[in-house]
């Protein structure tokens, strides 16, 4: 056990010395230039090396502390409350760990959480947004040539939020009660889940079917397709006729679906692939509108049924006759329990 330990210590000594050199570079330079020859592919293992160095310094600290246990107390008194050599080493190690950690965290943050990546997708004019909203209801005829899809995220995001607002309004007017969760959470989860989830799924299918479409374009296409849903739900949540809903579902929902389908067909080669992609998108899009109507408007339907005709109201109060036999059983059981207690 001692030999591998010593060998491990020896091994850790050499890379620790290299990393010590790296640390000197970082501390001495103070420039923003990253020295790539020290970074290379082992930057992922830098935590382990830092961990080893930290461990080594801790062990050295402990040895010094054991050696200076007696002297440390005197030094404490001499340095007017400062903790002496052990405290200084600890502070330095803590400082170094903090600085290295902070540097790596800020580097990762600036790479991945940089919101400026999305900036080009929000650079729009009101006229463009209006034009795209209207175009989303007009199916294109030319499917032999790849149709242009605007890679824009402002319009789809606002449409998703509008759908959330319409759903909330519909749920409030129909006094829908959500038992496990909140109204707001349900609405946001449903709408954003559909937009992001179905877009991702369709992008995956498009990748399988070799369609020429990017993720942002898919998000944009599906987002603008929600315009039909917004119109349908806005009208049918306020004017309650079943037949009106079905007409809107077919016409408005159908138009926006046809538009999306036509654009996808123009960007896909092969009959089977076109069928798979467009069938899936059409089914999901139309079924989502059906789901939104029926899942969040039940109470209104109940009221409509009672108003429209001689149907049975949803809740009927029937008098419950408790038979004599069960009454006797109940009494004897209560007496038995009272006796045992």
């Amino acid at each position: 056990m001692a030999a591998p330990g010593a060998a491990g210590g020896g091994r850790s000594g050499a890379p620790a010395a290299e990393w010590g050199g790296f640390e000197d570079n970082m501390q001495g330079g103070g420039s923003a230039v990253i020295d790539m020859e020290n970074m290379d592919d082992t930057s992922g293992s830098s935590f382990e090396d830092m961990g080893e160095m930290h461990q080594r310094m801790k062990e050295e600290e402990e040895e010094e502390a054991e050696g200076e246990a007696g002297a440390g107390e005197e030094e404490d008194g001499e340095f007017l409350g400062m903790k002496g050599l052990r405290g200084q080493l600890g502070r330095q190690v803590a400082d170094q760990m903090w600085q290295v950690g902070k540097r790596q965290a800020s580097r990762a943050f600036s790479l991945y959480a940089n919101i400026d990546i999305l900036r080009p997708y929000f650079d729009v004019e009101p006229v463009q947004v209006r034009a795209r909203l209207l175009e989303s209801m007009i199916p294109v005829k030319m499917i032999n040539f790849p149709q242009k899809i605007a890679g824009e995220l402002y319009g789809p995001l606002m449409l998703v939020f509008t759908l959330v607002a319409i759903l909330l309004h519909g749920m409030k007017t129909s006094d829908t009660i959500i038992r496990e969760g909140t109204l707001m959470g349900t609405a946001i989860g449903t709408c954003f889940g559909y937009w992001l989830g179905v877009s991702s799924f369709m992008y995956f299918l498009a990748y399988l079917c070799n369609a020429q479409i990017t993720m942002v374009q898919m998000l944009s296409l599906l987002g603008y397709g929600l315009f039909g849903h917004c119109i349908t739900l806005f009208v049918t949540y306020n004017i309650h006729f079943h037949s009106l809903f079905y007409i809107f579902w077919l016409v408005v929902g159908g138009l926006s679906t046809l538009r999306m389908v036509a654009v996808l067909v123009s960007r896909t080669v092969g009959h089977t692939q076109r069928l798979i992609l467009c069938g899936t998108l059409a089914a999901l899009h139309m079924l989502f509108l059906l789901y939104l109507h029926f899942a969040y408007h039940k109470v209104v339907e109940g009221i409509l049924d009672t108003l429209e005709g001689p149907n049975v109201p949803p809740f009927q109060r029937v008098a419950r006759d408790i038979p004599v036999v069960s009454n006797a059983v109940l009494n004897t059981t209560a007496k038995a329990i009272a006796l045992t207690l």
Partner: protein, 208 residues
């Protein structure tokens, strides 16, 4: 105009607010208690609460047709917004709804979302405090709506029309201030719409 602004900038940090406030205080002080002068001076010097500025901003919000001064955004003043949020909660309480938590939660999330959107859409950045300040000030008409909800139920057609009018008023004021401060003139409608959605949520809270 620029030389006037430079003149102001030279004096802004050291003398402007206190002297202006002192003049205002003296005009009050001659009518009322001299201890009010001391309180006002303390508020300005220690806490940065400047009643003149708060009143100017409130007037800008209440009159959506009045052109907004871009320098409004330079100060992050959260006193007015806090007062308006409390007033909204209080008027909702008078209508029988205890929704303070919802008001604060929706304000916080709305500020974060608007801050992200404005940073993405504008060429110059904007801070959280400025967004919170503007959105808070423009909440004042919503307080009027919830006061109306105390007197009569808003769940009919007149209530809906009033709610839509108030939402339009709030979002117009907010988008006017944002576009004048961030130099996004052609995009006022694009900023007004998300503001309208946010204030629509507050209106839903008030109406139902």
């Amino acid at each position: 105009m620029s030389s006037f602004e430079q003149f102001h900038i030279d004096f802004y940090q050291s003398n402007y607010t206190i002297e202006d406030q002192e003049e205002g205080c003296n005009s009050y002080g001659s009518d009322k208690n001299p201890s009010i002068n001391k309180i006002l001076k303390f508020l300005v010097a220690e806490l940065g609460i400047n009643f003149e500025h708060i009143w100017q901003k409130t007037l800008t919000v209440l009159n959506p047709m009045k052109p907004a001064d871009g320098s409004i955004m330079n100060e992050t003043d959260l006193t007015g917004p806090m007062v308006f949020c409390l007033a909204l909660g209080a008027t909702l309480l008078m209508a029988g709804k205890v929704h303070f938590g919802y008001v604060y939660g929706m304000s916080a999330i709305g500020c974060l979302a608007m801050h992200a959107l404005l940073n993405l859409m504008s060429s110059q950045g904007v801070s959280h405090g400025c967004v919170a300040s503007v959105l808070g000030y423009c909440l004042l008409p919503m307080v009027l709506l919830s006061s109306a909800a105390v007197l009569f139920s808003l769940q009919g057609t007149p209530g809906t029309v009033l709610a839509l009018f108030i939402i339009g008023w709030c979002s117009l004021s907010a988008s006017k201030i944002f576009t004048s401060a961030l130099a996004m003139e052609g995009q006022q409608l694009l900023i007004a719409y998300p503001c309208a959605l946010l204030y629509g949520l507050f209106a839903l809270l008030t109406v139902f």
